[in-house]
Symmetry: C2
Subunit: 143 residues, 2 copies
DNA sequence: CAACAGATTAGAACCATTCTAATGTATGAG
DNA sequence: CTCATACATTAGAATGGTTCTAATCTGTTG
């Protein structure tokens, strides 16, 4: 069985289970999108880039569904939304503690492991407010 | 003369000079907007909030001009654009080294002095890239 | 003051995203 | 297995912040 661990069937089964665990019905569209997103390494996508990708793969999914799915996955904790660009939203398959390099010109994000980076000296927030998350964006340029 | 340092005339004169130094013609609209932005303490505005404010002050400036002016001021180094919300852009009159608390629900930004906070362990960017700026956003919620 | 470069403006256009309401589909009970 | 139902998907319209256009206006310089 170990040899078959990466077969298409098996992947679909795993994906289906994962979606169900998150309280999401494993519809054709969600399984296909999850397949692209969670197959291999960590990824950063926009709604449009993901829609292009799945369309080019010959799968028909509407852009509205891509948006819906990205938000549902985010709410389910399978994705994390990254706000670095006023023009568009990115979604990151790495939901763990980490930060980003961002190359604006090319719309490219690169993960920085959470262990690597540390932020010290954050003051207490004003009374009545609590810290939800600390985001670090290292904006980079081509030299 | 010291007593008159804050008179309206003097402020306008100062503003005018400042705009000219930045290579911007001191038009009525730019002087009025600069007056609102740079009069007192540090401020965080959106195009719409600034347009509302100046309109309520009885000054007629088009929204397009507010956008143009915010961008020109930013390019001139008088303002800094802050990207924290996918829905809208903020502009900060504090152009020095500092970071932000952000209360998304209310669209509120609060400065964190640059001396207070420190980010350690940023890895070298991938070859060919150089660090342009490190932004820290401390996302907060009402307790 | 004339002339020109640059600025302002209303309104249209743009584009990412969200909404709508009509159609399709996974699921669990029977 | 089938049906009913709740949930999903979809095309296309709507939204909302922002930018563009091209006509008009205004600082500035000679």
């Amino acid at each position: 069985m170990a040899k078959a661990a990466r077969s298409a069937k098996n992947l679909t089964a795993q994906t289906t289970a994962r979606l169900r665990q998150s309280g999401l019905r494993p519809t054709r569209q969600r399984v296909e999108l999850a397949g692209l997103l969670f197959d291999d390494c960590d990824r950063h996508v926009t709604a449009e880039s993901l829609h292009d990708e799945i369309t080019k793969a010959g799968v028909k999914v509407s852009l509205a569904t891509v948006y819906n799915t990205l938000h549902q996955f985010t709410q389910a904790g399978l994705l994390r939304q990254v706000i670095v660009d006023a023009a568009r939203s990115y979604f990151d398959t790495n939901t763990g503690d980490h930060q980003h390099f961002f190359l604006e010109k090319e719309g490219m994000l690169i993960d920085i492991p959470g262990e690597a980076i540390s932020v010290a000296g954050v003051p207490n927030p004003p009374p009545g407010l609590t810290v939800d998350r600390v985001d670090v964006v290292v904006r980079v340029k081509r030299a």
